[in-house]
Amino acid sequence: MRKVSLAGAAIILLWGMIAAAQNISLQFTGGAFKVAGWQAPSNPPSQGWSSVFAVFAGKGDVPPLLGSYAVEGGALVFHPTYPIAAGVEYRAVFHAPAGGAPVEKAFAGPPRPTNRIARVERVFPSGDVWPSNQLRVYIYFSEPMSRGEAASRIHMLDSAGKELAGAHAVFLPGEELWDPDFRRLTMTLDPGRIKRGLTSNEAIGPPLTEGAHFTLVIDSDWHDARGVSMVEGFRKAIRGGPAERTPPDPKLWTVTAPRAGAETPVVIAFPAPMNYPLLQRMIRVSGPNGIVPGTVAIGREEREWRFVPQQAWAAGSYQLVADTGLEDLAGNHIGQPFDLDVFNKVTERIETKTVSLPFRVR
């Protein structure tokens, strides 16, 4: 038996044709399935066109493919609602209203792609020391990926190369948090182990023990959105650092102001690494004429934020405006630790939405 590829132009090849009406052929052309050689009436039979002609996209007891019927040039044509897919075997079946054996024909969808193009581009935090209460990890891929594989493709190994599993697993199970392009995956380390006072934190400890060595491993078998594995896997060595319990404090940030007339950046240096995606959007520059458009770059393992304006700086007073939702690596945000100790630090909660740091361009 030979299947017909739909990848090319309309191809007609008979398969298993047992029909009495030898001149009837089933064709695939222009994205639609057609009954050639049978003069279709202008109106459907009482049981509907599907009683005459149906296309199936699966084996066994499955319903027929969704689509619509039309009589075009005297021929019955079935237009599938969804485009033809790779890896599917389609089976078109025609039952002549006059009776007789059905005419059947199999069509293969276009071939699946096989060329490997995807790889892990970056992982954040980019540093190799992560606080023991690290909250989130962001994995950036070069291509859109398939969802549903994170659980089996991402591993955290201990210093002996053994995967941290069971009660010692570091990542929270559950749905995968992708960006709309499926090129960035957000993983969450188990907050039950990060949050002080919970049973799991006290019994098992934080996800990344201070001083211990770990390896983050991402398998090359992960499929991209086309269903093809990656070019290569990814490994990153990590050491557990001290827990980060102090919320980011803008008073401790060092601002380097640019000079007037230059296109040099205004730079903020942070005493500890910050959350990479939030740095991209939670700090902006406000000047004499409102928000200053420009480009943000993050450096020094997320300890530095640089902003270059679209136009050279004009002399004057500016503000760096930071959203208080800006987090460090452990989910502490400005004025608010991840887990607030209400006995000792209740006064630290800040209710404002933004904080401002002034700088002057001369």
Binding site: L65, P80, S146, S152, N275, R281, V296
Partner: protein, 385 residues
């Protein structure tokens, strides 16, 4: 009293209560189910589902940053004993839309409380271009897919976040994955997880939707030992009466279960709540179904790691709130593991005696985190345990 002192006092009260909840606005109960305009359903993804009045199906569209209400026109009361049992529902949906079964990702399942027909949100494909699907399984077990070209529908946008820098493909990488929805007293309550910041909000959206009415947001806090407060996202929740008062029972992503009183949700109010159980680490709650059996109250909870548990929910009002330092853990409210419900991916309430269970073989990941199930995905109506 100085403003700062007032705030601190209020915070201490809330900390002592175990959970503080600020609710900025809430609309009055809206008339339900005015006819929705007929047209294309603008879904770019189909995630969490919830039923509203008269067969209105709410569909969370995380990629499109919106909630869509579809009038299913499916409001004919079911016959007694109506049940759905389908083996390989993933393969049947796949056959309808013309993809291999492994390219169907099922996101949520709910039972229409009137007709008892089952609705499934899914995607055709696993990448960013996957098409959103709403499948229906009727009580004769017939599987169909809603035509999204022409349904009575309305949408409300959830976009209110500051625009982030565009990625190379022009998209905004920030996204709120909506994990749970419930229609309560004229409002759609929506819980979600952000793929960027940690402290996601619970949102209350009046229904019928109004233009530019994105709803109020609630900041949720929960504490442990009455000492450490965390602002954390709610993972799944249900409306629930405790001691004759309406509450929201909410399960968090680091698995504490808290009760939040509904009738105190007034503009500007700071509402006391309480953590009543902690199911433990390395787990996410998936679905909760409250029920009553033999004169006792239970809540069936499906989990990613711990399987299905049956919380003994009699006299929840008698369990202490976290008013002073004390451990809250699995001993808070007792529960039993339901051993005969294995590989459960979703639970959906059917009636007072039955629950719909969606099961599938564990995914390829390790036992504690197998990932999405592999087919066949089965739907079964089973007696509540």
């Amino acid at each position: 009293m100085h403003l700062k002192s007032k705030i601190n006092s209020a915070l201490m009260v809330c900390a002592a209560a175990g959970l503080a909840l600020t609710f900025t606005t809430i609309s009055k109960t809206a008339p339900a189910n005015e006819s929705l305009p007929l047209g294309k359903v603008p879904l770019t993804s189909a995630g969490a589902l919830a039923f509203g009045p008269n067969g209105i199906l709410f569909v969370a569209d995380s990629v499109g940053a919106q909630i869509v209400a579809i009038d299913t026109q499916d409001a004919k009361k079911a016959k007694a004993g109506a049940a759905v049992n389908v083996e390989g529902v993933d393969a049947k949906i796949a056959a309808l839309v013309g993809v291999p079964a492994d390219q169907i990702v099922i996101n949520d399942v709910k039972v229409n409380p009137i007709s008892k027909n089952v609705y499934i949100s899914a995607s055709r494909g696993k990448g960013p271009d996957a098409a959103a699907l709403i499948a229906k399984v009727d009580t004769t077990d017939k599987v169909s897919v809603l035509s999204l070209d022409s349904e009575h529908n309305a949408a409300v946008s959830l976009v209110d976040a500051p625009e982030s820098k565009a990625t190379g493909r022009g998209g905004n990488p920030r996204m709120q994955t909506i994990t749970g929805m419930n229609y309560i007293n004229g409002n759609l309550m929506v819980a979600g997880l952000s793929n960027e910041e940690w402290n996601s909000a619970l949102r209350s959206i009046p229904y019928p939707f109004k233009t530019a009415e994105k709803g109020a947001t609630l900041q949720i806090w929960h504490s442990s030992h009455g000492r450490y407060e965390t602002q954390a996202p709610i993972r799944t929740f249900v409306p629930y009466n405790i001691g004759g008062k309406p509450y929201v029972l909410a399960a968090y992503t680091c698995t504490p279960l808290v009760k939040i009183p509904v009738d105190e949700l007034k503009p500007g109010a700071m509402v006391k709540g309480a953590e009543i159980a902690d199911l433990g680490a390395g787990n996410q709650p998936l679905d909760m179904v409250p029920y009553e059996k033999d004169g006792h109250n239970y809540i069936l909870i499906a989990n990613t790691s711990f399987g299905v548990v049956k919380l003994k929910a009699d006299k929840l009002e008698s369990y202490p709130t976290i008013g002073e330092p004390q451990r809250t853990d699995v001993a808070g409210v007792p529960y039993d593991k339901v051993g005969n419900l294995q590989n459960v991916q979703h639970l959906a309430a059917v009636d007072s005696s039955n629950v719909l269970v969606m099961t599938g073989h564990p995914g390829a990941g390790p036992a504690y985190n197998p990932g999405p199930p592999v087919g066949p995905i089965n739907l079964n109506t089973v007696a509540l345990p």
